[in-house]
Structure formats: C-alpha cells, structure tokens
C-alpha cells in the first residue's frame, strides 16, 4: 500500500492542490453568489432559475466545473487528514489511514461523476 501511495503521490498531490484551490477560493465565492446573493436579492433570481442552471450544468464545461467543485475538495480534505495523522505521530498506520482517506475521496469522486452523468439524462 505504501509503495502504491508513493507511486501515486504526484497525482494525489495534484488533486489535493486542486481541491485546496477549489475549496478555498472558488467554493466560498460560489456559496456567496448562489447561497447568499440569491437569498438577499443581490443576484437576480431569474439568473439562478432552474432552466438556466440546468443548461449550465449539462454544458460540457459546466459539468466539468461541477465535478471539480464536488470531487477535488474531497481529495484536498483526504490528503490533509492523512498528513495531519502523520504529523500527530501516526506514521506507522499511514498505509491504513491513507487508504481510508483516499478511499473515501475516490468513492465520493465516483459518486460525483455518476451524479453529473445523471444530469445529462
């Protein structure tokens, strides 16, 4: 498991750094615009109407962004938790904890892919 994780480390770190970017920068703006902007009337409700959002989410670029917004932060969180565990002295169980963290991120990503696919009917 350790060797496999070592081999996959570049891709995992790539997903992690993508996740931190999305989770730290894009998602708060997304929540601000959609969650609060719509509710407080700062953003036109029509602009966030079902048909428009449906069209955006099923556009190839929209689908990719949606997938990135759901899947990448999972990898960000998983990698953070694994390294937190190591920093707390859990190196001996790194294989198990790593497999668990990345396993959850992988399952979550697959669910996200499935969810985005289903949007396309």
């Amino acid at each position: 498991m350790k060797t496999l994780m070592l081999k996959l480390e570049p891709i995992i770190w790539g997903l992690f750094s993508g996740g931190m970017m999305v989770g730290g920068i894009l998602l708060p703006v997304f929540v601000l615009v959609v969650g609060l902007g719509g509710g407080f009337g700062a953003v036109d409700g029509q602009a966030l109407g079902y048909d428009r959002i449906q069209a955006l989410a099923t556009h190839p670029i929209g689908s990719l962004l949606l997938l990135a917004a759901m899947a990448l932060p999972l990898w960000g969180g998983a990698h953070h938790l694994r390294h937190l565990w190591i920093d707390l002295g859990g190196l001996k169980s790194d294989g198990l904890v790593g497999a668990l963290c990345y396993g959850v991120a992988l399952v979550g990503s697959l669910v996200a892919i499935l969810a985005v696919f289903r949007l396309h009917g």
Binding site: P10, W13, G14, S17, L84, I86, D87, G89
Partner: protein, 249 residues
C-alpha cells in the same frame, strides 16, 4: 549604566556520565547589545569551562550556532538577549542526536545533503573555448533565494515531518536540490526528481511552513518544496506523453 543579570538555564549532557540530559542554571551579568551566543561564551569563559557549544563566525554566515532558545530554533549569534525575560532556556536543536551539551550530531544531515546532488549536473562538460554560460537576471532570480542557505539546521529542528519521519530528506536539502533544478546551467533535474518523488522526498512535506518561519536567511525552504512538488506533478504527467528522462530541456 546599571548592569542587568539574567539566568540562563542550559541543557547539559555528558554521554560518558549522563543517561539523560539535565539542565544547569547560570546567573550572569549581560550587556544590552549581547546576543545569546555572547552569553554562552561568557558562561564558558568566566563561569564554567566545561560547557560545550558550537560556534564560529558570530555574524550569521557559518551556521554553526543554531540552538533552541526558549524552545524555538534560533541562530544564537543573531538572537538578542534583550528579546527575552529574566530567564532564558538554551537547549540543543530538536530532532538531532546530541553529542554533548548543546552540540548535535551532523552526520545524518550531511548524508541527506549529498542525496539531492547539490552540484551542477551536466551530461557533457563545456570546453573552455566555448566561453562562459550566460544567465539572465531573471533566470538567476529563479534560484538565488534558495542558494542563500547556511546549513544552520534550524529548519530541521522546526519541521514536524523531520521529527516523525527519520527518512525525510528535510527542508534545507530539498530546497538546495530544487535550487539546482531551477538553475539553467544544470541538467540533473530528472535524476533529482526521482529522489524527490521517492520515500522521504518532497511529497512527505505537509507544508507546516515552520522551516520558512525559523530560517534566519529567509531562504523559504517551504516555498522551494511546494515549487518542487508542482514541478514533479507536471514532470510525472509529462512522463506519460514524453519518454522518461527526455523531457527536461
């Protein structure tokens, strides 16, 4: 001018006599412009000649006098006594075996340095007739900051990963390896990146950033390691498209 006194609680360890390190207190007069190293030298010269500590240049160049002062890794020749209260604790750097008192073992650290090939690697040496290798100020700026390291090892004492993973190459050595990877005269990046991606390489770093916080020369090893991670992700991705080892310009 009234003379101020401070108490220095210094860690002592004699491998021939002691099972574990103990502390010894010295109350000494201090001058206002003293650094911690001046106080240690005073103790050694005037109070207790048996105290062992390592130092040389007294001007933050040689990197010999790194110690934990009140629990934080400091270059003692640069650390003013006026920054501290009446009691100052001085201990050897964390994460290193102690040889005696405040002196730590450097062997393992030196091995880690060698591992990253901290020299210019070229396939073929340039002949003198070919003239000098030119480098623009921008190209120099890509690595200059990372070449300012004085090997004081404060970053190793501060790094949580070094304390947990003995095999971790560590901040200073990884930053130095990255410094050569960034150098336009160098062709050794593929070799170094193999080491960077291996166990104890750049991906072991959890970016606590403590190394850059304590660095007395503002080398920013954490920044170097993050750059090296990104470069290795791109290098790894490129290895699927371009033959391994042939993608470095």
């Amino acid at each position: 001018m009234s003379q101020e006194t401070k108490t220095f609680v210094v860690t002592r360890f004699d491998p021939d006599k002691d099972e574990v390190p103990k502390t010894q207190s010295y109350e000494i007069p201090v001058e206002g412009d003293w650094k911690i190293l001046d106080a240690l030298n005073y103790i050694k010269d005037e109070v207790d000649p048996t105290l062992s500590h390592r130092w040389s240049c007294r001007m933050a160049v040689c990197g010999s006098c790194g110690m934990n002062v009140n629990g934080e890794p400091k270059l003692t020749c640069k650390d003013p006594v006026s920054n501290y209260g009446d009691t100052v604790e001085v201990a050897p750097l964390s994460n290193f075996p102690v040889v005696r008192d405040l002196v730590v073992e450097l062997e393992g650290f030196m091995e880690k340095f060698k591992a990253v090939k901290p020299w210019i690697v070229v396939a073929k040496e340039r002949a003198v007739e070919e003239g000098t290798t030119r480098q623009s100020p921008d190209e120099l700026a890509d690595f200059k900051q990372f070449s300012m390291c004085i090997n004081c090892m404060l970053c190793y004492a501060a790094c949580p990963v070094v304390s947990n993973e003995p095999d971790f190459i560590g901040p200073a050595a990884l930053a130095l390896g990255h410094r050569y990877n960034q150098d336009t005269r160098d062709e050794g990046a593929p070799e170094r990146n193999e080491i960077f991606r291996d166990e104890g390489g750049v991906f072991s770093c959890s970016f606590a950033n403590e190394c850059s916080e304590v660095c007395p020369k503002k080398v920013n090893p954490a920044g170097a390691i993050q750059q090296a991670k990104l470069r290795n992700v791109l290098d790894w991705a490129a290895s699927f498209v371009v033959k391994r080892g042939g993608k470095e310009s």
